[in-house]
């Protein structure tokens, strides 16, 4: 093969944040194959130092507008761990319900707006308004539901107001929960249509396999979202688990010259986090309806094709809807009511791990006796996936060359791979060094 291949995608489209793809091949020899992150760094951990514990979550929430519920919860739960605050069962249920709203909301956006156009051969969702108006209308309806769901519980779906250390400053009334339940129930037909759409598009998903390590929050009671412990699984089913407080022992952050975001690794050269990783680690804890959908879509653990991440997201959309309905019924049965915020009982350091649409958030804070933050550390999902994307690139390129793909086909294959991870790059760019420099 005597040719020169140059792919230079500066600021890849249809991903959150900024990322570049650089591939150079001359006469079959790979010179460069890089996934670069030039996003402007934003330095959140530095900004929360000196802040009162009641303000910290409202600052770190602004790390990412799409995962802001997850950042708020990670921050709040880590703060509670540091200050000896005990959340009530009602608070825990409301948080889980709020978390499902975010996963649902973000997955809908990603699957419909960022991934579906590739599979339908369109440059974006907008031409689909003409060619597939029903799909677009459905996407917008579901997106709106995610927004209303998050707002009903969190006050706002972007940067929620009511979820604070100690509980909720305002809890939904019975009629709010009943109205939310009706809205979610009304979306069930749209959900089935979503599964049909993805099932029809599935043949367009590239076949590519690269086994890696998959990491997810796990719990003995449910499909892990927060609390519990961290678990990883390898392609051969070998599992390892880690305490949340020891999160540094499984994330091992390092700075890469390719990126303003820090990278992570654990048992292998990189690991994956996000919907596919959660599915691989925790599939047996899914709601039966979600399990049925996974089977229909041909998704089985341990799936080692990263292009299948959006399919795992669809499975999670179904799971969140059914779990959401169950949680609402539980809250109504238990008699939802106002509760005083739980107060701090001690001070020190605390950590939390929360699953967000794209992977795991680790937040850790130290507070002094006045409740002022003295140290902070946030590890963000996409930072965890960047290293894995790079290794996928290195495995994918020789395969594409062997298949004699054109430059355009290769570019699309790389772009689709990055988009499959749903990288929320903007949030991945302000990581604290694991070793404190004082």
């Amino acid at each position: 093969m005597s040719q020169r291949i140059t792919i230079d995608v500066n600021h890849l489209t249809r991903v959150e944040g900024h990322g570049n793809i650089v591939v150079n091949v001359t006469d079959g020899v790979i010179e460069r194959c890089e996934w670069q992150i030039p996003e402007a760094p934003r330095f959140f951990e530095a900004m929360v130092r000196g802040r009162h514990y009641s303000e910290v979550a409202r600052i770190t929430s602004r790390i990412c507008g799409i995962c802001s519920i997850g950042h708020t919860l990670a921050s709040v739960i880590a703060t509670e761990a540091a200050l000896g605050i005990e959340a009530t069962p009602q608070t825990r249920r409301l948080r889980t319900l709020l978390k499902h709203a975010e996963n649902f909301d973000s997955h809908v956006l990603h699957v419909y707006v960022l991934v579906a156009p590739d599979l339908l051969g369109a440059p974006s969702v907008f031409p689909l308004v003409q060619t597939h108006p029903d799909v677009v209308a459905r996407a917008l309806r579901l997106k709106r539901l995610g927004h209303e769901w998050g707002s009903a519980i969190g006050g706002r779906s972007t940067h929620p107001t009511t979820a604070v250390p100690g509980g909720f400053t305002r809890v939904p009334r019975v009629r709010d929960l009943e109205a939310l339940r009706d809205k979610i129930l009304a979306a069930v037909p749209d959900l089935e249509a979503t599964v049909d759409t993805i099932a029809a598009l599935a043949p367009a998903i590239p076949a590519f396999e690269r086994p890696t390590e998959y990491m997810a929050v796990s719990s003995h009671d449910e499909y892990g979202l927060f609390g519990g412990f961290v678990q990883t699984i390898l392609a051969d089913g070998d599992r390892a688990s880690y305490e949340v407080a020891d999160y540094r022992s499984c994330t091992n952050e390092y700075v890469s010259p390719l990126s303003t975001a820090k990278y992570t690794r654990n048992r292998l050269g990189s690991y994956a986090a996000g919907a596919l990783a959660r599915f691989n680690v925790n599939a047996d804890m899914l709601h039966p309806e979600a399990k049925r959908v996974a089977e229909r879509l041909g998704l089985a653990p341990v799936c080692v094709n990263p292009y299948m991440n959006p399919v795992a997201q669809v499975v999670e959309i179904v799971h969140s809807v059914h779990e959401g309905l169950r949680l609402i019924d539980e809250l109504l049965a238990a008699g939802i009511g106002d509760e005083l915020l739980a107060e701090p009982t001690s001070c020190g350091t605390g950590a939390a791990a929360v699953e967000v649409p794209r992977g795991i958030l680790f937040h850790e804070y130290t507070f002094d006796a006045e409740g002022i933050c003295t140290e902070a550390d946030c590890i963000i999902p996409t930072g965890q996936n960047h290293g894995n994307i790079q290794l996928d690139f290195e495995a994918l390129l020789p395969q594409l060359l062997a298949q004699d793909k054109s430059e355009d086909e290769m570019r699309l294959a790389f772009e689709m791979l990055v988009r499959a991870y749903d990288p929320c790059i903007s949030c991945s760019t302000h990581h604290l060094d694991v070793t404190f420099v004082r």
Binding site: K143, R144, V255
Partner: protein, 247 residues
């Protein structure tokens, strides 16, 4: 009526404001798309345009000198520039680091000296280019954004309130945070959001910035005397989303 050609651009931000743009639902969004054509929006589309842009919506702060050229190019291409979200309008939350000198070292350690990790002061985009309209808030108010668009489509004048959040808060009959033993910055915060935060049981932190001529010394005093904050917390509080106008 010809469709308005609109485009979205982003700088240092959390992208929460553009997410708000996806929350209008099917009916409103599809109707909006009859009046506007989205010609560039990197997060949502691969297409770009060389043609005319009627309205450019810009999210995020101006933090790197390299961004200046990009902003100037947007200005040159667009008839109207709308800054949306606190990051773009005032520097927003990003400006908190403007009061620190060790932020890069704290986050990246020794690696902070790598050239791609350099970041300067977080500034509003109006520090680089002329801005025609602002949609404030963190996140921005999506209803206000629609109103700006609607006014641009119909050629009607855009009006923004100049009074503080307290006015909107009283209007919806929320119990004052101070009467609940808490603190609040609604007295000096720019209205237009409808005062959702006190109604949700949390203080207003002036994410929309300050009203003109806000008495910031009085704000600190009230936060201490009536809100029970320490002096240090009161100073910090007055800089949550407003570190730039406060400095």
């Amino acid at each position: 009526m010809a469709q308005l050609r609109i485009a979205f651009f982003d700088f240092a931000s959390c992208e929460g404001c553009q997410i708000e743009f996806t929350n209008y639902g099917d009916v409103a969004t599809l109707q909006l798309l009859e009046h506007v054509e989205i010609v560039e929006f990197r997060e949502a589309m691969t297409e770009t345009t060389d043609g005319r842009i009627d309205v450019a919506f810009v999210e995020g702060s101006f933090t790197r000198e390299a961004d200046r050229a990009r902003l100037q190019e947007i200005r040159a291409r667009a008839r109207t520039v709308v800054a949306y979200g606190a990051c773009a309008c005032t520097g927003g939350i990003n400006a908190l680091k403007n009061h620190q000198d060790d932020f890069a070292e704290y986050v990246y350690g020794d690696a902070a000296r790598m050239p791609h990790l350099r970041s300067g002061t977080a500034r509003p985009i109006s520090a680089a280019i002329k801005v025609d309209y602002e949609v404030r808030g963190c996140p921005m108010s999506k209803d206000e954004l629609l109103l700006v668009l609607s006014n641009l489509i119909h050629g009607t004048e855009h009006w923004v309130p100049t009074y503080p959040v307290c006015v909107e808060c009283k209007r919806r009959e929320t119990i004052c945070r101070y009467d609940e033993g808490d603190h609040c910055m609604g007295q000096v915060a720019r209205a237009g959001c409808g005062a959702p935060c006190p109604a949700d049981g949390v203080p207003c932190e002036a994410c929309r910035g300050f009203v003109e001529d806000a008495n910031l010394n009085a704000l600190e005093r009230v936060l201490v005397d009536r809100g029970g904050l320490s002096q240090r917390r009161a100073v910090g509080k007055s800089r949550m989303f407003t570190a730039n106008p406060r400095s």
